[in-house]
Amino acid sequence: MAVSDVVISFIVLVAIYGILSYGLTLKYGHTGLLDFGHVGFFLVGAYTSVLFVLPPDDPGDFTAYVFGLGDVPVVGTWVVGIAVATVLSGIIGGLVALPTIRLREDYLAITVLGVSVIFQRFIQAESWFANGPDALRGYSPPLKSSFPLLLEGQVSVPFLGVSLPATPVLFGVITAVVWGVALAVLAGERDRGSPLPVSTLYLAGSFGLSTLGRPDGPLANKVQIAAAGGIVAAVLMAVLLAVADRILLVGVLVSAFTWLVLIAVLARQFGRLSRREWLSGIALGTGFLVALLPIPFADAVAVKIAGSLLLLGAVVGGFYRAVQSLDWFAEAKVQIVGAAALWFVAIWYFVIPIVGPLGSGQLGPALKALLQNLVWILAFGGDVGVDYIAAVVGNLTVQVDYQRFLLAGFVLFMIGAYYLLELTARSPFGRVLRAVRNDEDVVRSLGKDPFVYKIQSMVIGSALAGFAGALWAVYTQGLTFVTFAPRVTFIALLIVFIGGPNNNKGTILGAAVFWAFQQATTQIASFFPPALRVNVVAFRLVVMGILFLIVLYYLPDGLLGKANYSTPREGDKTHTPQQEGGVAARADGGDDE
């Protein structure tokens, strides 16, 4: 599996857990409700959506479930299934909250935990409902049959019954999302100033639409420009595919744009660092890499563990000494760690895959690996796909696989969830929620009933968890009750706290940090003999627990701090006289209320 595939699945998992954690951000961060049973709604969403798309239960086979609506014409589709799953989770969240929300916060947490355990046990014990302790499989994720995208192949549009050529349409969808996100990020960079010719790139990337931006027109802010640019790019790529079948060219174009945007972002971030800070970051990253070398290369387990721990200790000790003794190091330590992480990831992504083939003197496979990782939007290898023969590199089989489609879809949903949460946080409803979190008596004195608002918060938060559950069902293609253990709530809680309990951006950051850690330790664990895998996996959870404690103690507001949602956004044009004086309000991040 190429490194780009690892990164893609990483982003998909971040999206799913990001949406799940958004439910907790709303419940705990914004409203102050500690819900230890959050995973229960995740479970409800997953199983509901699956039951909607499964074909009716065949009594003769070994699986049993209560109903399968897969054959019903309009209802038995993923769209309806996911919608119903979301709504049902929200309703059940409200029902659970009705009797329990008046309890004290710790009683509430434990009671809802009990409810989620009841759900889990129900699935486990009642074999007639969802195949009991065995996995519930046998459904296919949406549009999977169209993948990997071939040059022929048709996809039918739901509800309209029209058939369209699969490859241009679906790849167009993927391109729209990827291009649009990249364009929005680029717009943000342009606004903040950058040493690189970002404006030119932005102009080119948005196909000139950025010049058409007018405050009152349809292209008022950067989001709409991004969306429009994404759609134009999608159409362009689709045409290229439909007319000329140029998968590789299209893939290279899209991937190149994203790399350019990434370079622009990083250039600005690290343009602020001086050379010595850069070099220390590189040194730290390299040191970390060297510390991990015993794990793949040593044979005896004891040597692996002891060697790695010693070297890691040396690296951490060196970092600590530097922080103590050098002032410039201590001031810039966060940026230095960021630079080290970037260097480490760059080596892992670009260098390590080509070290193997280069070491045995094969230039072709090395270049092939490099190309795979650069053109990440296409999957290489496999039996099915379009074949190319390129100079020096050799045979390439190129395809667009299902993971990329999931990536586009889930990232779109995650952005949607983020906007939903931002809207909620900035609305009057959000203000009442924050007031309920801080002091219920004040809310009551103003004439609003905190009970009603808490119920609403539970409903929306549980609906988000149900939506994430449906996405999970799409991703894993098989559900077991073991997945929905209280551990998932703990992970969601950890994610929420890493970024900051009431910080919407922070939740995404937390999910990224968590899954980066998981992927990294999974890769490390693969170097240990299988008998010890359980122990290594357990150790990674210990480390996570310790990190959680450190975050709770030293950074109770998370890595991104408290977010201030009470001030108007930069784009709001309400010019009241009071606002003209005083300190400028910042829409995200910033000072305490």
Partner: protein
């Protein structure tokens, strides 16, 4: 025709389950009440105790420690030395938590003693406990003792290293809950890092010598209660494979039954009235209960005469139990009695009750609340160790989820009864009974629903009385 197990059997099983939950819930409620930490990690403390006992019971099955084992259940001199050192360190560590080196010198005793006497006593205690454990290796009681002393020293560390830091930051209750959740994961997965994912079980010598013959205390005994027109007959059978061997039969005529019950009620009433206005260790309800039970037992023994199994019965039921399960109930009751004595009759217990009522006021009165808190954690650790080791033996498999399965019933018991020690005991028995009787009474409910039943009961009680049955 043999009677079938009915409601009474479910009640008895519920009492056994309730006893184990109570042992855990006592520690949980002590910590919840006095240290104000809703300790989500308490279930994993039970697991820790269960696994710690494996070091003594089956040394070779423990990774890293098996280097010192000379056989599946024996250790060489180094291993024995390590265990001795660990036990002694456990005892001294527990004392150290009570106030540092000064406590080892006897500073925490209620009477003034010279440092030499204090240190000598503590060291002597540590040495004798260590010797007992090493001598008793690899028997089950030695393993139990080892788990108790190790946890007594390790559990307060969670307080001094983690919880105290957060309490000093004056965080809210929800945050303490989250912190304890993180601790739970750290403890549970640290155990798994060392021990891996295999299922373990204890090796226990299950036959004891009693009355000249060896009795296996894990074998189930069947006790039939047969009520007929002549009286009550208690028929005790031993299960041996497919057929049941009759051990002995006791018959009571109606006159004897009524007489015993009347005298028991009378003694209970008298005990209640006489102790009603006192505040001693044996309060009114305890006096009534103890008096009634004693009369029942004495009367039952006195008037026991050989009986015959009647052919027609008005009511019959069967109890299926084993000396092990009855022993668990007795051990639990004994430990609760010890705790009750501690709380009511000693100065330390009075300090604990005062701190639980109002910490600031207790501090004003000169009570060392930090020491009280440490005592509470030590007790919580010890009780958790006993509960974990008993649980591991009762279900004869030890996995890392052992304690977590019991965590929810424990919380249910604590919250149901109100967050105090006596409330927790009452609540745990209610939960245990609810779990077993619920599974029995509701047809078609499989055994995986035991914990959900406990939760439904908790939910119902909280809806009616959110402070719990006994709570304030």
């Amino acid at each position: 025709m043999a009677p079938s197990a009915g409601l009474l059997n479910a009640i008895l099983t519920g009492l056994v389950t309730g006893s184990i939950i109570a042992l855990g819930a006592i520690g949980l409620s002590l910590v919840y009440d006095i240290a104000e930490v809703p300790n989500f990690a308490h279930g994993d403390l039970l697991t820790l105790g269960a696994y710690a006992a494996l070091l003594v019971n089956k040394p070779q099955s423990v990774p890293l420690f098996d280097l010192f084992a000379t056989g599946p259940r024996a250790v060489g001199p180094t291993g024995a030395g390590l265990l001795f050192a660990a036990s002694a360190a456990g005892v001294l560590g527990s004392v150290y938590h009570l106030g540092g080196v000064d406590a080892i010198r006897g500073g925490w005793w209620a009477v003034d003693v010279s440092p030499t006497v204090g240190t000598a006593t503590h060291v002597g205690l540590a040495v004798s406990v260590g010797a007992l454990i090493v001598a008793g290796l690899p028997s089950y009681p030695a393993a139990l003792l080892f788990a108790v002393v190790v946890l007594g020293a390790v559990v307060p560390l969670t307080e001094s290293v983690v919880f105290r830091k957060f309490r000093e930051k004056d965080v809210e209750l929800a945050m303490m809950l989250i912190v304890s959740l993180a601790m739970a994961f750290i403890i549970r997965f640290s155990i798994q890092t060392v021990f891996g994912g295999d299922i373990r079980f204890y090796e226990v010598d299950t036959s004891i010598q009693a009355a000249g013959s060896s009795v296996n205390f894990t074998f189930a005994k069947l006790i039939d209660l047969l009520v007929s027109s002549n009286g009550v007959v208690v028929n005790v059978l031993d299960t041996r494979g497919t057929e049941n061997l009759q051990l002995f039969t006791l018959g009571y005529g109606w006159l004897e039954v009524v007489g015993i019950l009347a005298v028991a009620a009378l003694v209970a009433g008298v005990g209640y009235l006489r102790r009603r206005d006192t505040a001693g260790v044996v309060g009114p309800r305890l006096a009534a209960g103890l008096g009634g039970v004693t009369v029942l037992l004495v009367g039952g023994a006195l008037f026991a005469s050989g009986g015959t199994v009647p052919s027609e019965t008005l009511y019959e039921t069967r109890l299926r139990t084993s000396p092990l399960r009855l022993g668990i109930i007795l051990i639990a009751l004994g430990l609760m009695g010890f705790l009750h004595y501690l709380l009511q009759a000693t100065t330390l217990g009075k300090a604990m009750r005062a701190t639980s009522d109002n910490r600031e006021l207790a501090m004003i009165r000169g009570i060392n609340t930090r020491r009280v808190m440490m005592v509470v954690w030590i007790l919580a650790g010890m009780f958790a160790a006993v509960a974990g080791v008993l649980l591991g033996f009762l279900f004869s498999n030890i996995t890392i989820n052992l304690g977590f399965f019991l965590l929810l019933p424990m919380f249910a018991g604590v919250i149901l009864g109100g967050i105090s020690v006596y409330g927790a005991i009452l609540g745990s028995y209610v939960v245990g009974l609810a779990m077993e009787v619920g599974i029995f009474a509701i047809p078609g409910l499989s055994a995986t629903y035991r914990v959900p039943v406990a939760f439904v009961v908790l939910l119902l009680v909280l809806l009616i009385k959110p402070e719990g049955i006994v709570g304030d």
